[in-house]
């Protein structure tokens, strides 16, 4: 049976469905940032940005940009009514202190034990781009990953063990890919949802880790 993988917006929209009202959520750069666009405005989800913004709102109209207000991806945003500002140490106190209900990050790889690799493609890479990912990964109540199911070269990203340097160990709770939604459980990846036309066999063929 034929299937059409989700595009970036499709992955983000699928993830957004599962975020309930009232959660405090940090969105990483890339596909995660798109998630906010798919949370209906009347569902009060509070988005946190590492640079100290609590209550990140949608992008401003082009004629109403506030040059002093950006998100962690350094793009211009608005502040939602009820939002506030903190400094960088307090902002990461929020992330590291367990106050985020959810963090959504992109990744190169996720392993069946919940390990995540998203900051370097090899230990020898000369310049590393850590940013705030390690702080967010260890601190949030739940870490969800949104990413393509495989690399551009069709290499699997859902691994028995990560092959790239780790960002954090055993922290990923769920993965949203362009093909499926998978929970990370003590027994490894459990498929919760697949796109129309996808079969467990076809998904397993694109996944290194054993699926249940």
């Amino acid at each position: 049976m034929a299937f059409t993988p989700l595009d970036r917006n499709g992955i983000a929209a699928r993830c957004a469905q599962d975020i309930p009202e009232g959660w405090l959520v940090n969105l990483g750069i890339g596909i995660p940032t798109l998630v906010a666009d798919f949370v209906p405005p009347d569902r009060e989800v509070i988005f946190h940005a590492e640079n100290g913004v609590i209550g990140v709102g949608p992008a401003p109209a082009t004629d109403a940009v506030n040059p002093f207000l950006i998100n962690a991806s350094t793009t211009h945003v608005t502040l939602r009514t009820g939002g506030s500002y903190v400094h960088h140490a307090d902002s990461f106190a929020i992330a590291r202190g367990g106050h985020l209900d959810l963090c959504v990050l992109g990744a190169f790889e996720v392993a069946e034990n919940g390990d995540i690799a998203n900051w370097a493609r090899s230990a020898d890479e000369p310049v590393k781009q850590v940013g705030g990912a390690m702080d967010l990964a260890i601190g949030a109540q739940r870490l969800w990953v949104v990413m393509e199911h495989t690399t551009k070269d069709s290499e699997p990203r859902l691994r028995r063990r990560c092959t790239y340097p780790l960002t954090a160990k055993g922290v990923v709770k769920r993965v949203y890919t362009n093909l499926a939604v998978l929970d990370v459980t003590p027994d490894g990846f459990v498929v919760r949802d697949m796109i129309p036309g996808m079969t467990l066999e076809a998904l397993q063929a694109r996944t290194e880790a054993k699926l249940a």
Binding site: F92, A93, I94, R96, G97
Partner: protein, 219 residues
């Protein structure tokens, strides 16, 4: 819609369990959420650990809680020997842990900030360090301190909105913002209610993300 306001004291105190650690804001008579402590007395939780700057004076809400035998342990920076807490301690009826005031504040901040331990020179050269882990850092003897988290924080605020964003009045700020971030369940009494958006974003001291319940208790 996020709405952290509760309508009654009973709602505010729902689920505070026996054996809880209660972080109690305030310094002197300022910023102490006395009505919430009265609510806690009414609610009935027992075998409590209270974290507060001091052991409570005569007539204080802490003293009432102590006099009812509801407190097992007190963590504070000082206890007056002549106070009820001092007498209970000397009779062996109350555990008391004395913590330097700055270390106490920092241990709660650590709990709220995900810091799992820290070193400080405060107290390292004193009796309070006996039997504890120290190390020399940069030529200074330092003491290893651990986070001090709460199950519940009782907080007094000046203004609050439905997201739980808070401001404080003058020196009533004191321990309140730190305790709000250090507890699993933060219960606030606010003197004034603000509409969402009424508090300027730059002037919010405690973002509502640290707050679970807000009760309006006018002055």
């Amino acid at each position: 819609m996020i709405d952290k306001f509760v309508r009654t004291m009973a709602d505010a105190m729902t689920g505070v369990a026996d054996g809880s650690t209660i972080l109690l804001g305030g310094f002197g008579d300022v910023g102490i959420p006395t009505p919430l402590l009265d609510g806690l007395i009414e609610q009935g939780a027992r075998n409590l650990t209270i974290v507060a700057v001091a052991g409570g004076r005569d007539g204080s809400a802490i003293e009432r809680l102590l006099s009812l035998g509801r407190v097992r342990r007190l963590i504070c920076s000082f206890v007056r020997p002549a106070s009820l807490a001092g007498r209970l301690f000397q009779r062996g009826e109350l555990d008391v842990e004395i913590v330097p005031q700055g270390t106490m504040a920092e241990r709660m901040r650590a709990a709220g900030a995900g810091i799992t331990g820290f070193y400080t020179p405060t107290g390292a050269d004193t009796l309070l360090a006996e039997g504890r882990e120290t190390r020399e850092i940069g030529g200074k003897l330092c003491l290893l301190e651990y986070p001090l988290p709460g199950d519940v924080a009782l907080i007094e605020a000046w203004q609050a909105d439905r997201w739980g964003n808070l401001t404080y009045r003058d020196s009533a700020r004191n321990f309140n913002p730190v305790m709000a971030m250090a507890a699993k369940l933060t219960i606030v009494m606010t003197r004034n209610v603000a509409a969402l958006g009424e508090l300027a974003p730059e002037t919010i001291v405690t973002p509502g993300i640290f707050v679970n319940r807000v009760l309006h208790v006018p002055l």
